[in-house]
Amino acid sequence: MRNGGARGRLIALMLVAVGVALSAVSGCVVVPQNRRKRLADPMMRFDDDGLEAHRRQKFYTTREAAAGGDGMPAGGGCGCQ
């Protein structure tokens, strides 16, 4: 029962996340490349510093039950898991 309730919560959350994301996308602005000055700013990058991103990903993966959703395997690869 607990498992089914959790699964249902996740499905509802997925609905909200996908709905919010696609509602925003449904404005569907196509920003020409020559107008992406702000988007090209290093402050806006999600992967600005690979070493910092990796150490944070490993730190949280080895101290919490949750992992993944960041392009990396959720687990394995070291004796810390």
Binding site: V18, L22, V25, A40
Partner: protein, 193 residues
């Protein structure tokens, strides 16, 4: 005790949830298909020749239409911006090309899109760029000419007609300029490479 109605209700609830997900995604995709907002700035001109009348600003702030930049000579125009890394990387090569083209009666001109003249003046001074630079602060020229990418390279002939459109500066763009310079009556041999 699980009732028969409970057993039948759960798969239906799950199916409804997944149908909801699919519906939201379909709405999103259908809303997205084929739409793009018009770029800022003046509306795109009805005729292709209109862009020659669109003004850009020199580094001292003076306005001039594109036709005044092109004059009546083969010209390579580079659309760029200082925040665009590939654009910045090709500036030294454009500088070299500008000197070679000038010796052969042609020209190389830079148009910085979305930028103000003073910022580009400082950038040109810092990088040692001496070939003519102009700014298209409100994207008026870029929109009129239909140029949405940077870096973008265009080559114009003596009659201010577009003979080449490309992206980053490459051998094809240089060859297009060289071909124009070589085809002029009485033109001396000219090496761009």
């Amino acid at each position: 005790m699980r009732l028969r109605s409970d057993v039948l209700r759960r798969p239906r609830r799950l199916a409804l949830r997944w149908a909801g997900i699919v519906l939201v995604m379909a709405l999103g995709v259908s809303a997205c298909a084929g739409r793009s907002t018009p770029p800022r700035g003046p509306a795109a001109p009805a005729t292709p020749t209109d862009f020659r009348a669109v003004s850009v600003r020199g580094l001292s702030g003076e306005a001039a239409p594109l036709s005044a930049l092109l004059k009546r000579r083969p010209t390579l125009v580079s659309f760029w911006a200082p925040w665009c890394e590939p654009c910045v990387r090709e500036q030294p090569e454009l500088e070299r090309l500008a000197r070679a083209a000038a010796a052969c009666g042609g020209a190389v001109v830079g148009v910085a899109v979305g930028e103000a003249p003073d910022g580009i003046a400082a950038f040109a001074l810092q990088k040692g760029l001496t070939f003519p630079q102009f700014t298209d602060e409100n994207f008026a020229l870029a929109d009129a000419i239909g140029q949405r990418r940077i870096p973008a390279t265009m080559v114009f002939d003596d009659n201010q007609q577009v003979v080449f459109t490309g992206e980053a500066l490459d051998a094809k763009a240089t060859a297009a300029l060289q071909a124009l310079l070589a085809s002029r009556p009485g033109a001396p041999p000219c090496r761009m490479q």
